[in-house]
């Protein structure tokens, strides 16, 4: 049957003149069945879009279900989405383009079953979109299976004996659920059974769209609709069933309307100039002029450190400082925290590699320098140190000194010393002083003093870090 719309009613401008995207010969007729509510709701929406003058800035997200092809008809921007995901797709679109008008159009299986989370979350965030929800209590597109809104006792192809609440639960009332949320500004359930109800729906459609135009937030209009094909009824029987049965469970009405009370929220996106980028990205110090630019030693240099102890001793920071200092000397460096299988055994540790060649594996298996601040770490890593390497340990925290005689062993009560300076947290910088002294041929201690506050930016520790570094450096000068 071909319905000659243009002879009966004027088509809204927001509908295409002919439905070319349908791809069949009936370019004036919709793909919807007689008695289906989609066509009426489409028309009400299209008229409202035209009347508000928002056709160019409107984007319609169509769902999966019978209205998957809404883009056949709406002469607006169109996005077709995955089953149930229209509110998420709409969220992404609207966030990317806040000046647009975004309509998410969904059916009951799409919105209340597979997409129940997406709709609740979009509503709860108060996304600046308008959702139109066709509730016809059945899956139309796939051939009449049970929907989350199918009534108890209603027969469908997957509830051949009627929906049984003990098996499938009860029909879900989405408008009532959405209305309990804080963010939505407007929630109404309408129907399309007669001229009076269509007029009500028309008003609701306009109110919901107007709310978005005025930047008020999320609005939701549920429309009870007939599905004579799915229900195996004539269009007239379908209307009667909505009136006498469906609308008695899904009561029409306004469930929430706070449009007037809510303030308009206009999102303005300000794009910074390219010059501001590095600053905004926390890397502006790159442009800082440096008064000390150390040069690396010529020849083959590499250092592999394992730094280990309890969490909270600042050992990952110590590794970070050493790696930064080496980077400042134009060496290749890598820093790897204990991660994955390395975390076994309860010690916090990091691997630092320094080389004048490209660094391969970042994990240090055989350190040239081992720094340890607790006993389990010493036990774990002592035997890994290369012959001729160095072990620096906190002799105040580790009562059994390393037993290796083929490595250089430096023990000092770094934590106690730091405590005397005013903070045990500075123990790591005392160790830094020791390490800097040992590597004074490689690393400029003047540079380290300059760069330290630029690496550890917390101003509260600038002074004590410098003091601790000097303490370690002097200690090494005297005792090593």
């Amino acid at each position: 049957m071909t319905i000659q719309h243009n002879k009966v009613l004027q088509k809204p401008e927001t509908f295409y003149d002919t439905f070319v995207r349908k791809g069949d010969s009936e370019l004036k007729a919709t793909h919807y069945c007689p008695g289906c509510g989609h066509g009426i709701l489409h028309k009400l929406i299209a008229e409202a879009i035209s009347d508000f003058g928002i056709q160019d800035k409107t984007v319609l997200v169509s769902p999966v279900g019978c209205s998957v092809f809404a883009y056949y008809y709406f002469d607006t921007g169109n996005i077709q989405s995955a089953h149930g995901r229209a509110p998420a797709v709409g969220t992404g679109y609207k966030r990317a383009n806040p000046d647009s008008i975004l309509i998410s159009y969904q059916g009951d299986g799409d919105l209340a079953a597979i997409g129940a989370n997406e709709i609740i979350q979009a509503a709860n965030r108060g996304e600046a979109m308008t959702v139109f929800f066709i509730n016809n209590a059945i899956y139309g597109m796939t051939g009449g299976q049970m929907a989350p809104t199918t009534l108890v006792g209603q027969k469908t192809t997957t509830t051949p004996y009627g929906r049984n609440s003990h098996n499938e639960g009860f029909p879900i009332r989405m408008s009532e659920i959405i209305a309990t949320l804080e963010a939505p500004v407007y929630v109404e359930r309408c129907m399309l059974t007669d001229a009076k109800n269509i007029a009500k729906t028309r008003k609701a459609v306009r109110k919901a769209l107007k709310a978005q135009i005025d930047h008020k937030g999320f609005s939701f209009v549920e429309v009870l609709s007939g599905c004579p094909t799915g229900w195996k009824m004539t269009p007239q029987e379908a209307k009667n069933w909505i009136d006498s049965v469906l609308s008695k469970y899904f009561l029409p009405g306004v469930f929430k309307d706070v449009i007037e009370e809510r303030e308009s929220i206009v999102i303005k996106q300000e794009i910074p100039s390219p010059e501001d980028y590095h600053k905004l990205m926390d890397i502006s110090h790159l442009s800082e002029k440096e008064d000390i630019v150390p040069t690396p030693e010529k020849g083959n240099f590499y250092e592999e450190l394992k730094i280990a102890g309890f969490g909270g001793q600042g050992l990952l920071s110590l590794g970070y400082v050493i790696a930064n200092v080496a980077m400042g000397h134009q060496y290749e460096v890598s820093w790897l925290p204990s991660y994955g299988p390395e975390m076994r055994g309860g010690t916090a540790n990091c691997s630092v590699k320094i080389s004048n060649k490209r660094i391969g594996a970042p994990l240090v298996a055989n350190p040239t320098t081992l720094i340890v601040m607790n006993k389990p770490s010493l036990e774990k890593f002592e035997n890994d140190v290369v012959s001729g390497g160095t072990i620096i340990y906190d002799s105040g925290l580790i009562d059994t000194p390393p037993s290796r005689d083929d490595v250089r062993v430096i023990g000092l009560p770094a934590t106690e010393m730091a405590d005397k300076l005013g903070s045990t947290k500075a123990a790591n910088m005392i160790i830094m002083g020791i390490f800097a002294y040992l590597k004074k041929q490689i690393f400029s201690d003047r540079y380290i003093r300059w760069v330290l506050p630029r690496i550890l930016k917390n101003k509260a520790f600038h002074e004590i870090n410098q003091k601790a570094f000097q303490t370690g450096f002097d200690y090494a000068d005297k005792h090593v």
């Binding site: 997200v61 797709v89 990317a96 008008i101 980077m327 994955g340």
Partner: protein
Amino acid sequence: MKKVLIKGNDAVVRGALLAGCRNFFGYPITPASEIAEGSALLFPRVGGTFLQAESEIGAINMLYGAASSGIRCMTASSSPGISLKMEGISYLAGSELPCVIVDITRGGPGLGNIAPEQGDYNQIVKGGGHGNYKLIVLAPNSAQEMCDLTMLAFELADKYRNPTVIMADGTIGQMMEPVKFPQPVTSFPKKDWAVKATAETRENLISSIELDPDRLEVHNQKLQKKYAIIEEKEVRCEEYRSDDAEILLCGFGIVSRLLQSVVDEMRAEGIPVGLIRPITLFPFPKKIIDAYASKKNVRFFNVFELNNGQMVDDVKLVVNGRKPVLYYGRMGGNLPTIKEISAEIMKNMRQL
């Protein structure tokens, strides 16, 4: 000092911003959460949007919506989260939407663990979603590449209207290395196809549905042509000391860093090993591997992976029986040691 010592995950965020990415949609998961956290911190500062989605499914569909507008946008997750995103990824590929997806891989299957594994190769490179699609897949192995390849990913995504994946393991994400940041990108390709909510783009439709089998076949053929062009033009591969190598090691991501150390150590002992590191996993460096497979002096290929042997299949397809292709892998999030890898190579040398 014109470099910053920074974690790979943080380098991804900054690379994205420099590439002009404006929208980030994500869901927390270890070991990728730093990308979401870094984005939450920095995106609002450049007039962009960070949104923590309700789920991975929400996030990937938000990406679909944002990408439809033509804006540069990104999401990041880790293996189980990527599995959840697969539906959306198939739709993105079908609708030809440019976007960047970061996968900081972890141990599986199932909940697995948070340690570095490369078990996502098949789901990312071969397509974990339904349909005849391909993703462009980049596999960085340093913090610098986490920045640079993220920027490249946006460029390639736009150029081919194709979702592009940065696939790195947790080690690359957690490791800090010096990164030199490039200047921000200021000119972007025109996207005439995008739905921009303007009069000029009102006709545009973003969709992956096509009921007519003939038309859907045409669409699929068009996609395959695009993938063929990508295979022709966008291969990136690092060859390390491989010119005169008799034994070719092959690995990507963190494994390639280990293999680089192995090559250096074995070369120092006079063993002629070299490394082929695919930087693009799709397009796979077929021609490069093919050329080595034809070389007389090449004895065998040795593929190392942190999985049950996934990329090795692609190497075998290219080598096609001309040379032995051997595989060694660790799973569960374990990294092999340098010694372990060397011993495996030595064993293979003796046996072949």
